[in-house]
């Protein structure tokens, strides 16, 4: 089993519904976010091109955060989801420094926090909150080992990219282009 997510940059309108859904579902403290929207404008006027991406932890196959964690708090869970065990985390910040996507932050309670792919929902057969609420249905989630999962099917059909593949992290958040 290998959970992954695909975000369609052609469909995303940058409404930030995913951000609010995540904050509500996961009780993210005010002022923080586990997922966020990035808008990138390429070119010069009038030849402009806009790409909008809903970003979060890439749940990498080769996670630098898991490697550098001195206590084992950062670990791989079911289907490769990268999680932080709160009462093992000492809040040293090594994982925050190690993430090329800056997907982690220090929670006000002290431990480090990040996207969990809503594992508590996924284990019940539900989709992550961000995927569930997206009004343009631009996000796909599922098991890459299952050829019939939403994410497998869309990655078979569409061209995609990952972020900073040169960092060698083998990210599992795909962007349809």
């Amino acid at each position: 089993m290998r959970y992954a997510m695909a975000v369609d940059t052609k469909k995303c309108v940058g409404c930030s519904d995913c951000v609010v859904a995540c904050q509500t579902e996961n009780n993210v403290p005010i002022g923080y976010c586990r997922d966020w929207v990035v808008e990138i404008t390429h070119g010069t006027y009038p030849q402009l091109e806009l790409e909008i991406r809903s970003e979060r932890c890439n749940h990498c196959d080769n996670s630098p955060c898991v490697r550098c964690c001195p206590t084992g708090a950062s670990h791989y869970s079911d289907g490769g989801i990268v999680l932080v065990t709160e009462d093992k985390c000492i809040g040293c910040g090594a994982c925050i420094s190690s993430c090329p996507y800056d997907a982690r932050y220090p929670h006000p309670d002290g431990h480090v926090d990040k996207c969990t792919f809503c594992i508590h929902r996924v284990q019940k057969g539900q989709k992550p909150a961000c995927v569930e609420v997206c009004p343009t249905k631009c996000m796909y989630f599922g098991d890459l080992d299952d050829p019939n999962s939403d994410v497998s099917k869309v990655l078979k059909k569409r061209k995609f990219k990952t972020l900073i593949p040169e960092a060698g992290t083998k990210p599992q958040l795909y962007f349809l282009i």
Binding site: Y32, C68, P70, G93
Partner: protein, 313 residues
Amino acid sequence: MKEELIISGRMNYKVDPSLHIWGWEIPLYLFLGGLAAGVLFFAGLYYLRGKENEYQSAVKWVPMITPFLLAIGLGALFLDLHHKPYFWRLYTTIKLQSPMSWGAWTLMVITPLSIIWSATYIKDVFPKWDWKYKWVDDLVAYFIEYRTQLAWIMIIFSVILGIYTGILLSAFNARPLWNTSILGPLFLTSGLSAGAALIMMLSKNPLERIRFSQIDLMLIAVELTMVIHMFMGFRASTEVQIEAAALFLGGPYTLSFWIFVVFIGMLLPAFLEIWELKGNHIPAYIPAVMIISGSLMLRFIIVHAGQASRYLY
């Protein structure tokens, strides 16, 4: 012309707009750890070379400062933790891939070792010293018999401590400025150089001062070579590392790095030491303080600039 404008909706504390998760605590600890490693290395080395009485400061009494240096460093490390009540989790596991885990365990060996080493010499330095309890006297007498073995362990672990302070940073490929394997040897050399400078500053013996002045000169030459190699490596590497080097080559850290680390921390003290070795009198504390402050600034600048260097995507 191709231009790119990135707007991110994320504004997480200590992460955005650019990473600043590590403030003064980590660089201070890296400096104190390196300094202690330098002092303990020379204590072990000159004990094994039979110079215990010739170089008394290096072997006997300057190492007595190291438990305090390490304690302050550990205190800074503790202050840096965001989840303080769980610090003991460091010692419930050994993670071979995590430099921080290596560091935590190395400190667990070298801190008691620095105390034991100091205890074995305390009566040499303070003749009226009384341990009060006989069992402490017996224990210290036991360790005195094994000084050779202690010296070997101290040399090995001081090198691990010194080099790990750099490896801790170089293991993060997310921060292109840190992601160079020369950082480990550079921090080790800088720590040894600061340790030698501290011994030189505190020694009353002119022969010992000259010896450590010569050692410092050699270490400064090695450091300068490594700094040049570091920038050559960056300039010949990928775009992110070229941009990381640019932080020091015209960017916001240019003045602080080249003035405080390279000029005041290396070139000027090297010049003063050559001047002194040629027979002119220069108070030992002047080059020593410069070298030690350069070593401190190196840690602060590299830790802060590293957090400003990143992948842009």
